[in-house]
């Protein structure tokens, strides 16, 4: 009996989550019918019926989006992805266009060479200079991307800036002693940062919280249920994303039998990359949500 009650509640939660997820798949201006279906789900007698009812939202959302695409002028539909692609490419290329000349300028200015090993006179003799260029360049890339409303490029630069920042700290703390193993650490950091950004981007809250038709209500509020946990506790969401990313990167490293430099600092570097990346991606997501609410974002 208790088990039955638990399963019923679980179905109820799944139904509400599904409806909430479907809301994010529809633009605010086209939500009337999904809101109608959501409101009627309250008439269901139990969680299972509600879940069955909510499943009907999937073909409805498909119909709504198809109808919207058919009603959109062809020029607009072609123009949007082109603008989006150009903005993202420009933001990525623009960032590199800043970092590479700045690095060579520093090389010239400080009369040092771009050696990334233990060669004398290389960048390890000017670690602060190279670390600053690497970090500032990528952060600048992220700012350019955000200015161009190019979210993909912003996430790209987030991954690179995380790797550069954590890598610089790692280097300044321990120095490069074993290049092949440092390579493994770098790969693990890159993986962790990428997972962190992707997970946090997936977990980010819906940018559309308002309704523009009928009486104002949102699925989380109207159905008498609280907003999803991860929406209410953003920091927790980012920390979860970071932890999962660290676990994934660490597992992959172990599975491939790629031992990191035998010092715990490497695992901290991977953990730091995952956490930092998740938080940074979360902040980019929030920034994007605000722009999206103003109707000025160029989506992924």
């Amino acid at each position: 009996m208790q088990m039955h009650g638990f399963l019923g509640r679980l179905a109820d939660v799944l139904a509400r989550q599904l409806l909430s997820w479907l809301h994010r798949r529809v633009e605010p201006g086209s939500r009337e019918w999904l809101d109608a279906l959501t409101a009627e789900s309250e008439c269901a007698d139990d969680g299972w019926q509600r879940l069955l009812w909510a499943l009907g939202g999937v073909p409805l959302v498909w119909t709504i989006n198809k109808r919207r695409q058919m009603n959109e002028p062809a020029r607009g539909t072609m123009r949007a992805p082109i603008v989006r692609g150009v903005a993202n490419i420009a933001a990525i290329a623009g960032g590199f266009a800043v970092i590479i000349p700045a690095t060579y300028l520093a090389t010239y200015f400080f009369r040092c060479h771009l050696f990334f090993g233990n060669q004398p006179g290389g960048c390890q003799e000017h670690p602060f200079v190279f670390a600053s260029i690497a970090i500032c360049g990528t952060v600048l890339g992220m700012i350019i991307a955000l200015a161009l409303r190019a979210r993909f490029a912003a996430f790209w630069w987030a991954v690179v800036s995380v790797c550069n920042t954590v890598g610089s700290v790692w280097y300044l703390r321990s120095g490069i002693a074993d290049l092949p193993r440092y390579g493994a650490t770098q790969s693990a950091m890159l993986m962790a940062a990428t997972f962190g950004v992707v997970l946090a981007a997936i977990m980010r809250d819906t940018p559309w919280t308002e309704t523009d038709h009928g009486p104002s209500h949102h699925v989380g509020d109207s159905a008498g249920a609280p907003a999803p946990f991860l929406s209410r506790h953003r920091i927790t969401a980012y920390l979860i994303a970071g932890t999962i990313s660290f676990a994934m990167a660490d597992s992959l490293t172990r599975m491939r039998d790629r031992h990191l430099v035998a010092d715990n600092v490497n695992h901290y570097a991977v953990l730091g990359s995952a956490m930092f990346a998740a938080i940074l991606a979360g902040l980019i997501g929030r920034h994007g949500s605000r722009l999206s609410a103003k109707g000025t974002i160029v989506r992924l």
């Binding site: 109608a36 409101a39 309250e42 499943l55 009907g56 073909p59 409805l60 119909t63 009928g214 009486p215």
Partner: protein
């Protein structure tokens, strides 16, 4: 051959139900219960009928406090007229379909 719009058995059953009391407002959940259609079938039909101007929609205040407003539907004058025609045209075919499911009718 492509089917004519709004002549599917599901659409016709919705139209038939709406025509029983064309001036009153109907709720989606009740329509689903009475026609036996799942929400994923019913709502795209209602959406299409509303797009074609056959259906009027309205947000109604909830009957119980704390519940969200409900979407209600009724046929427009034009919609009711066209629905009657469609149902009359489809009546022989629908009768054949029903008979096909009566035991011993084959």
């Amino acid at each position: 051959m492509p089917r004519l719009p709004n002549t599917s058995p599901q659409t016709l059953s919705v139209l038939e139900l709406l025509l029983e009391s064309p001036r009153s407002w109907h709720y989606g959940y009740a329509l689903s219960q009475l026609t036996g259609l799942k929400s994923g079938t019913l709502y795209p039909i209602l959406l299409r009928l509303a797009d074609q101007g056959w259906l009027e929609t309205r947000w109604a205040e909830p009957e119980q406090p704390g519940r969200p407003p409900r979407h209600t539907y009724r046929l427009t004058g034009e919609g009711a007229k066209t629905a009657r025609t469609k149902l009359a045209e489809a009546a022989p075919l629908r009768m054949t379909r029903r008979l096909a499911f009566v035991p011993g009718s084959r």
